[in-house]
Amino acid sequence: MANKKSLLKGREAMVVGIIIAMVAVFSILSPTFRTYTTFVSILDCSYYVALMAIGVTFPLITGGVDLSIGTGLICYALFGGYLIVHKGMPVGIALVACVIVGTLIGLLNGFLVAVMDLPPFLATLCTCMINRGLGSLLSGGFGVSWPSALEPAGWFRSIFRFKAGGQVIPVGIALIVVLVIIMSFVLNHTKIGRYTFAIGSNKEATKLAGVNVKFYHIAAYTICGFFAGLAAIAYSATYVTIYPGSGAGFEMDAIAGAIVGGVSASGGIGSIIGAFLGVIVISLMKVGLPFIGLQANWQQIITGLVLIGAILIDVVKKKK
């Protein structure tokens, strides 16, 4: 265990090093990159991915995965937008609704995986499709615009981007850091966290030790769904119109971030702070690569290559 801890710390330090190197390279190659507004933009597109990554770290550590969070995010945001635009409900209720629906879908995923013994990949692929269809149904198949920052009902945007004197203050990062600290505590110092690791390390042994594996397995997916609901809020607060049919692929940014940050693709190892740092790497690539003149398609290729590298490191370390 001590070895694992030092390994994780080493991995997190390595990711911090990668972040510093990337910022340096982008700043040298593009003077416009090293501005405050670019920094804010990187954070803007990190919030929803970071929230998904915090959540998906739990299923990943159990040795599973949740592929439904990307389309889920859009589905919950469409549902929230529908309540505001078509039902005239207050924004606060829509925000709560996003989290509730997300948590319920997470619970369903947990039930399918833990109780019904469905492979996580297939179970969450199914709910991914359900989310996609459900989002279209809820919105009547059309995009839904949440209140913009220009409207009084757009107050919720200040949760992530507070405007003072024309300057945007990225307060969302403080919220994310608080959540990273809380969930790190949950993962490392509570029963839920410890048994999440135990399930990922050796599920049968955990069961034989008398642990209610099903309960903690369901809890891991429910936490993931809860954070997908929070990610829906972050996405709606950053981007005005939510389009049904989008969202597929968002989960890959979160999973890639978690794996780059040291969460093992085969379970049993990982940290919330690592996942968060990994997301910063992904977001840096998303914003930084266009700045140095690479077409956006290169971003996907390079993200894929970085992910291969991260998984290879994981595999090599495990073999040792």
Binding site: S41, C126, G141, A149, T238, Y239, P290, A296
Partner: protein, 381 residues
């Protein structure tokens, strides 16, 4: 044991539902609207057969633009006493899904097909099959170049070249002084964010803006370079190398049709100190520009204080941006009338009438004419 059996049953149900979902993409849409035939339009019923049924494929149901098109289709169906089934992929990037839907529509042997193609090359084989089966196709929103002979009877679409040029024509006077002051040592930059480089309407619109801006700048004695996405760089007419230019048009194309990736492209362009203007050539990219501005806070209607922004299409955020002085204006199409004329043209074909292409105008709108009678109906939410 019971749980195992239950798991197997559930797995089977899920697998079947997945298959059904897959099938649904061919036969049932991401969002489908079945339009009932009207019973109270005797004049229309006289000109049409009572049993005419059309399959209509839109590019997606992502934006409110298509909501307006479907409204026009429904309106025409009600007036002309026909029925239409509207179908479309979940995302405008889902080219393969739309081709499958088109094949399924042809298999259903309707009296005609209305098609807004996501990718104009991918539908060519299907159109050939439609021609073989004698099913007339009317394209709307996007024309299909090199369509197999006898397949596409008419195209009802915005003249996108003119519509893109319309944005350039209205933007140029606002930034003319800045362009006049530009030199090769201190060039100015005009950004353009295009959703893709594959759909013909987006290509034409993007190039319409670029080529018109090149013309206007050249007439003002300035040389223009086009940088960024390779398609637009290669297709631009009259551009020079970047080092020789006083005006640089930078074209960004996101990897996928999402607002966040469009915003990243806009952000990259708007962050540059020499950027004086930016154009988002459809609803998604215009919203991408506005999203980038949420952080950058650079858009203005005064070139002395910020970047001049212009958009395309409508939608709540874009209309609010024009009212708030973030965009000088936008170009709108008439999706409602395109949908309407698509059905009307199909009915004419079925009645043996001769039809021809129907180019439709793009309209410039700003704070001054947004409420005008000829503009307001086109400004969907």
């Amino acid at each position: 044991m019971k749980k195992r059996i239950l798991a197997i049953v559930l797995s089977t149900v899920m697998a079947l539902s997945m298959v059904a979902c897959g099938g649904a993409k061919e036969e049932a849409p991401a969002a489908t609207t079945e339009t009932p035939a009207a019973t109270e339009t005797p004049a229309a019923a006289e000109t049409t057969g009572d049993s005419l049924h059309f399959e209509v494929l839109v590019k997606s149901f992502q934006s409110t633009y298509w909501q307006a098109a479907v409204k026009g289709i429904n309106q025409a169906c009600a007036e002309l006493g026909v029925t239409a089934n509207c179908n479309g992929p979940a995302n405008e990037s889902d080219i393969a899904d739309q081709v499958q839907m088109l094949d399924a529509a042809i298999e259903a042997a309707p009296n005609g097909i209305g098609l807004a193609a996501c990718d104009t090359k991918s539908v060519l084989d299907s159109l050939a099959v439609a021609a073989e089966k004698g099913i007339p196709v009317v394209c709307f929103d996007t024309g299909v170049e090199n369509a197999p002979e006898g397949s596409v009877y008419a195209t009802v679409a915005t003249d996108n070249v003119a519509a893109g040029a319309c944005a350039a024509t209205n933007m140029f006077p606002v930034i003319e002084a800045k362009i006049a002051a530009a030199t090769t040592a201190a060039p100015v930059r005009i950004g353009e964010v295009n959703q893709d480089a594959t759909a013909l309407n987006i290509q034409q619109r993007g190039l319409g803006f670029i080529n018109e801006m090149i013309k206007l700048c050249t007439a003002a004695g300035k040389k223009v370079a086009v940088v960024g996405n390779e398609f637009y760089v290669n297709a631009a007419e009259g551009a020079v190398a970047e080092g020789e230019a006083e005006v640089i048009i930078e074209v960004g194309v996101p990897a996928q049709t999402t607002v966040d990736l469009a915003a990243t492209e806009a952000n990259k362009i708007m962050s540059k100190e020499d950027t004086i203007a930016i154009f988002g050539s459809n609803q998604t990219t215009a919203e991408g520009v506005l999203t980038a501005n949420e952080t950058l806070n650079k858009l203005s209607t005064d070139p002395a204080t910020g970047i001049i922004g212009a958009g395309f299409d409508a939608g709540t955020p874009q209309k609010a941006a024009i009212k708030a002085g973030l965009f000088i204006g936008s170009v709108t199409q008439s999706p409602l009338m395109q949908g309407y004329h698509c059905i009307q043209t199909l009915v004419k074909i079925c009645n043996g009438e001769t039809v021809s292409d129907m180019p439709m105008d793009g309209y410039w709108y700003n704070t001054e004419n947004m409420e005008a009678d000829d503009i307001a109906p086109n400004l969907y939410d």
